[in-house]
Amino acid sequence: MSSQALQASNMEQLLEGIWKQNPVFVMALGMCPALAVTVSAFNALGMGLATTFVLICSCTLISMLRRFIPKEVRIATYIVIIATFVTLVDYIIQAVSLALYEALGAFIQLIVVNCIILGRVESHAAKNPPLSALVNALGMGIGFTIGLFALGSVREILGAGKLFGLSLFGDHFQPWVVMVLPPGGFFVLGLWLLFFAWLAKRKEARHGA
């Protein structure tokens, strides 16, 4: 493959995770953190970046080791590697911001069982060279972060009248509290999914015409 073609395919890989196969809005994977921690834009961003870090590190490492891992013990090996990076991210978040650590709670440790990561490893990193695995993981990570941010920012604006903790509407705003409660997560996710489905429908209709 020429270097241009390689670049083009890498670009494609990157965009796949961000847009075409967006883990939150298209594949509807990783819904547990997507609903639970997105009460504010800051939490959503923190969770997204933590997951991206784990995704990139585990996919790259597993891709480098892919020829040494016997297929009988591959799941065990993958989980050990993923769990290691989750532990690292756990320490790093505690060192950077205890407030974020408290807010994300058990969901940091639960990144281990986020199906996006094991899914990416099994379906992509285990079969492709490190660079391709890294790019693919980066794309998925960005896509997941965008998805969480889309949920978190809307929920914070409606539910608390704030964005990144800054008040948007002044004192007279009556917060729509249900939006930062668990049901609000489902409402906002539903609206986003509706929006993306509408986009897809519209594109289809245009191609048909």
Partner: protein
Amino acid sequence: MSGEQPVHVVPPVNSLRMVRTLMLVTALCGGLIVAVWQVTQPAIAANKKVVLERSVRALIPDAARIVEFDASDKGVTASKGDPAAGAVRFYAAYDKEGKLDAIAAEGGARGYSDTVRVLYGYRRDCECIFGIQVTQMKETPGIGDKIITDPAFLKNFERLDVSLTPDMKSLFNAVKTVKHGTKQFGWEIDAIAGATITSKAVGRGINDSAQRLLPLLLPKLEALQQNGGAQ
């Protein structure tokens, strides 16, 4: 059903290779974890200290020095690491002259959705709690989180009676959260209407902690009086 079953030929699995791979991977991962732990530990410890000191300072703004102690049956000792079983951690705040001004300690009890933890400030001269700071809670926004903001609720803690019995074994009157509008005595907490469970958690957390800490602490309080300047 007596047809012959096809014989599955299982290819020999090289167990040694599996063991080797797993060992190498776990060793690599273990090494990584230890390395990052070493690097991040000082920052994590410093962060935790800053967060707690900030709460203590919010409670006792005039404190010049805050010292951590553990109170247990064996007496009061300076804190090292996590408190031992049965010991209660508290913070002694000293003023500019190095005199003991107030004591702060943390209590926690289960609220509506998770443990509610509050830091309370105690002064010997009034034998009362003079303020609280919520250090951890995940209560419903707009309802349970009023324990942080509701001025009427916070007024309960401006002079909450926690005097001990004469033999210093327990509180004379247990701190108790009562239904909104029915507070009669100095040791009662007037609950927030609509957030009774959260209000009760605050009261229970304070009561449990004070019942354990104050009987251990008060007999030794003299020894702490001037500790601020000595260290």
